[in-house]
Subunit: 338 residues, 6 copies
């Protein structure tokens, strides 16, 4: 089994601990991004995965290569060149103080890359799954075109295609997102979304849900998933269900809809690092589906995986499939393993 | 609008994270103090604020100047000279283990300063508000006299005067505190106190309240505030209502009394750093009152501001007015802001 | 009053904060072990305590000596020589992610030491209490023999002997453990165990208890203690009662059985570092018993002591007897001590 | 005496110690730039100095304000807005391994600012000196125009104007630099350059000098200075004389030409941080000239100041005028000052 | 071009900066070893390289895999299993205080591996060069046998074989080393040694050389090389020439003998980290020879490469071939590269 | 052999690396002082040593006890109580930038202690050597009296008494120093001084010596030693000979005068931490003399010991006697010890 992920990868800079930006004299540097986070999840679970992106030819670009290689991602298709690597600054929140993310990603090597630089025919050769998110086509018109090239070739070669809607209002308007994403969705088999994406991108709303209220309405999610399937003929729709009690404590669950809704159990999480939580859900889901898990297993694995991600520093979900399965099977007591 | 704060500023030394003093091989150094913390709150909210103190002429004294300037406090009236900067050591508690503060502040430059060194007439020129706390007159007889000079001149020039009672039993006896503070209070318009100060300094007690029990009696607070107003003709009395569930979790609320009691909503806080929490309440309150907020708005702003302070490392409350307002208006879910 | 503890002491290496092993570029190094942790507890409470072990003659071995001396443990009986110091790697868990411990202790100087290297007659001279745990005889046949030598000499000189069962399945089988420990128990006065040890070592089970379920059955513990007393004629059996809600939050209590069960109050703990929690219970218990506390006082002190340990980084329980007593007497609010 | 500096200020990110970029898991963050470094030097010597630039309205932009304020720079004329703050990455070299700087400054708020945003008439009111470098006009056509506006207004108001040529080949070609700088130079009184700038920008060469050979020819420098004065009628030309023995050891001297050459003594420096060394020379020179020092005093102060800079981490030259004078007067033994 | 390296890889633990072991509260962790260091050098220069070793199946073993992958080493042939990873502790010296290394490598997974676990036939398929050092056969009899299997198969498949003598007196006696190494040398084409190895292992001495005197005699090295070639028919012998002026400053050169001696230029190095210096010489040499460099080019590249290594923290020589060539061509001034 | 040292011990706070005070956000904390540094040297060489001082009863005071115990110093005679622990801030210099020390030691527990608190009769029982420095009597009149009590009792019990003149102009005037020290010297056997102390305290000058010039005149030192012996009948006078080339490089030697001058060899040192250098000379000298070394051996040991101290962070000279001897015997090449 082999997978391909496509998207940006950025330098993440965050102050140490709970320091605010204005208190930071040093930043921890890591390299991550929505699709790269999924790629790392997949290799951690044992799936050979290639990442497709473009980073500068200088040493900071080399750090991206080192990072992907470190965790076992195939970097053969990472292009080198262009002006810069995107950066995002993360300030960790606590209790009533929310986390903050400042993006400095404009003009990155990947955003400026030409669609023709990506040799999708060879990239996909021998692969089974292609994953991208709504961030990639939002980066630039070039990247929107590159996504279209990719999904067409992926379908031509028979890969399963998954897409996490991941709407970013700093990158494009809802109108433009709706237009571009609507053109890509017909090639997508598995659609992943959080509670707001479907509304932001496609105007599809979960009724009776207020993301700030802490109350989530299961029926609303089913209705959203059903509408998505109706409009785009997805084989599956997966939705994350986050209840933000505070910046330190979240409830977390998920639903996989394949005609029928499959709800996971819900976890209450004391958060270590919340960034990358959604991506780890996608990673867990894709792994499960690639391994032939049924819908209930798949959603439980995806939610347990992303539950664990919230306890791990930085974006990558550095867990093994065994660790996820142990939690999914109910071992949530956190007892010391000697 | 312009404010003046007067008091000591010390070097704060705390071990990293939850290390106990005996485990500390390094200390994080910051510079803070009850009145300086208020000054930084005010400039963060956009109010021009001068700090009046005295620090040694050597480089450690210069660090104080740098720190105040960094956050925008006017340091024109900071005197240089004298023997030393006071120091306090802070050990962060967790769960059932309380935080500890060790003071090493005797013989500081400010404690030994002469009242005549402070040119109150010029200091207050063009200012609207003067704030000090019960710590300043407790430092030395000289400082008690300096406070008297200050409040008299402040009233002469028509400034509003606020005082946080802030009783420190390591600095003076209850008797001496009662005597000195009673002589200063007639010049004070807004009195700020926590649940114990009124009893310690003036013998005024909140009935039916046990600070260790976790139960707070609203009626008791109103009774204390009323007695304070009756005795000293304060225009307003503000009281913080802390319920210490553990060193890691506190409930936090406040009450502003202006003839009528105005209680804020209550927050349950997962604590990052509790030191400076009371000062951030004062800072929020003064800002609100200077901006003409009504009593309900003012107490909600003050409590939301100090709620956020508990999530921030070190004494200073590095938040903007917009961040406080967002929380005061009910957005406490801590969702990531991108 | 003087105590002697006997066992291994290892280098503990843990990543900073909540980092996983695979994220660690640096490790915090400390030196600890089940019996050494007890020794440090005892000296912290004011009891003169010697530690008996063997560490290499090189500088890393000297770090062990430095560490024990730092906290006041008598190192006169620490042998120098042999090939290496055992190491254990600790990864701190959070929320649903459990802590992990990887041991690298085979072939250590203490495991390879000869029983004859320990001059028990002189070691015990003037001492009142001898403590070891089930880890020491598990290290090697030599150490099993050394334990037998020790307990016999201890009884000959009239010391009270305590043993924490501390079963480690990486070190020996349940069968071998049962055999060796059964031969040592007749010399033991005070037996300390957690909820699983009695079953693992002696096949004695607490009925109706599932350690992963979060439910503990008081009756079961009494039944286990009673069986232990019946089989080995212990004067006292102390059992820790941990309910692992998550890796971040545990409930914690204890029971001392001396014919009658004495249950402590239960604490809910927000965990800073859980390793050494059981040892700090033993340290608190031994101190109390050496000081003539009655059973209720002793179990309350032991549990309060170990509650505090969970809030302290690394294995050692760096608290004073006054701090423990304050908590045991009900001051659990964690209010700042100035 | 009052000065104004104009230019970019960036976030500087450098790995800790001698780590290479590929080894960096964290970066130390500071905020600096050629002209800002001069501004900080000036305030350290007691000269009131305003910095003119533009930084984003977000928190990272606020960090720039905090940094400038911390050291006492007047930030009244710092504009807020625009897309991003420029970044440069610094890798510290050692011995035969050179330091490396990677710039990521394209598209910054200052580069995209409009010339009309800068109110030079009010900015210069009451000031005596205006300083900029060749980096500022290189940022964009807008900034070249802003520089022209600035120097014209500065001359109109009678300020002395200094410019450090500071050629950056990543920002513009030699041709474009020569063209723009030639149009600005007629307004400049004091020209500062290193051994290569005059050749790169104006094609004026120091004969018989090879910057890699470690041999510097005094006559060549005089010839360059003379040619600069002849072409642009500068009142003074100052040139730094660096002999790079290795990345760890440099020789350092300077020459001030005012019709006659004035050479400073030469220092052999064990380097702590070399970045900002040239700027600290400019800062020392401007201070001296503003204070009426004669040419020999001025060049000795400038060189001693920049010698000290090489011993200080990060770009800013955090020394007092007294410290510089002590070194300039010959106290170079580095004996402990108690 | 493809290379294979075979040997141990250990966890390296060193205190931060110049701290002594007894001052270390934390250790920086990296993973390295004589042959792994060569492997990383080779991939840095662009040569596909596989590393053959065995590490435990637990997470600390996974850190080895991560590290090798990060820098691009092929880990397909890294076996998982066995009891432990070897460890070495490094204390960095300064001035007259020497660096110290404490090894804790006994009983490692690689030392206990069976020769039959290594599938040399497949490992070498398609490769051109095989490198090992005298440390590998010293680990255990099994590893000595594995080395013999490896060199025989390597020669059978026509690979060039290089061996760095690397005598370690903590691992085996001179007698045993001489015996085993003598049996392996007939299969070796390129022999690498420092000034003491030939004497320690084969009793071949460089006359007139005293490694502590700081004086090195070129003739002596030629004589040693000639004797080595005479005895074992090596095609080439490379010797490093270190003059240890102090722990902070070393002179460094090398000689390649291929019938004729080829001496490199000599560098005086201000040392950042000396460990791995010899391995980086080997890495540079092998790369040059694989690329068809002539003897003079090869020795200059090897020495320049290892000169740079001394300026880089930890064992790995993280430089590019371009950086090495720049230094080898004479650019040693360490000027900043922007 | 047993020794006693008497004096203050302070908290030392220094910024990390070469940061200036104004750049420090954290300080490394250690506990040291002139006489405590000697005590630690002595125990490192194997001499049982007690330290006599007074520190506060709070946790920061306990850190002093922990530190002394850690390195094996007997703390039985350390008094607890009084208001505060003295503090000194150390900023490390580099190249032409000198190190700076800021003292904040007034009002310390030891300075305020009563002479009668020290039970010299019991303290000295069984001891052979008593060491103090000129700092102790400078702390307060009480401490001057305590020193007099101590030296009288030491002589009564037959101990050898050594004193390092250690003049501190921040603590007392030259006049007062001369007066008090002159009264104590008759009880002193071994006098230790640096190149300035004899002049500052007793007006005895080394002719033809300029401490800033880098030139030291051997004859001058002999003349000073001779005058000291003539005036106070010292058995031995030891003088350190420091040539400060820069803050990074010092030459270092010593002379022991016992009627005849004995000069050591001279070392050129690349400095890691210079503070405590003089104390380590005293420690090495006392150890040698206690062990019956002849004058040449003693001065070589003392100088080699203090040479090594300059390569070690913080005040304490953490070396073994074997390490010192190895250097004294000429092994200064700093080659790695494996």
């Amino acid at each position: 089994m082999k997978a391909v992920c496509f998207g940006e990868i950025m330098m993440r800079l965050n102050p140490v601990g709970y320091r605010r930006f204005r208190q930071a004299e040093e930043f921890q540097a890591s390299y991550a991004g929505g699709e790269a986070n999924v790629a790392v999840s997949l290799v951690n679970y044992g799936i050979e995965t290639a990442y497709v992106t473009k980073v500068p030819a200088h040493e900071i670009g080399s750090c991206v290569i080192d990072t992907l290689r470190k965790f076992g991602v195939d970097t053969k298709w990472v292009l080198r060149g262009g002006p810069r690597l995107g950066i995002y600054f993360v300030e960790k929140g606590a209790s009533q103080r929310p986390s903050k993310v400042i993006y400095d990603r404009a003009g990155s090597s990947i955003a400026l890359a030409e669609p023709s630089e990506f040799d999708w025919e060879n990239i996909f050769k021998g692969s089974d799954w292609f994953h991208f998110t709504g961030i990639t086509p939002a980066l630039s018109e070039n990247m929107a075109a590159a996504c279209m090239d990719a999904v067409k070739e992926a379908k031509r070669q028979g890969l399963t295609v998954s897409c996490d809607l991941n709407y970013r209002n700093k990158l494009w308007s809802k109108e433009r997102a709706g237009e571009v994403m609507s053109s890509l969705m017909p090639y997508v088999d598995v659609c992943i979304a959080n509670e707001e994406d479907a509304a932001d991108v496609f105007g599809i709303r979960a009724e009776n849900t207020d993301v700030n209220s802490g109350k989530l309405d299961k029926e609303g999610y089913v209705s959203v998933a059903k509408q998505l399937v109706d409009r785009f003929s997805f084989k599956k729709v997966a939705i994350t269900l986050r209840t933000s009690i505070s910046a330190s404590v979240n409830n977390w669950a998920g639903m996989l809809y394949d005609g029928e809704p499959h709800f996971s159990k819900e976890y209450q999480i004391q958060i270590v690092d919340r960034v990358g939580g959604g991506d780890s859900f996608g990673g867990g889901l894709i792994y499960s589906l690639m391994n032939g898990a049924d819908a209930d297993e798949a959603i439980e694995f995806a939610v347990a995986a992303s539950c664990l991600k919230h306890t791990i520093e930085f974006d990558f979900n550095l867990v093994t499939a065994d660790e996820v399965k142990s939690l999914a099977l109910g071992n949530a007591s956190g007892r010391v393993q000697r």
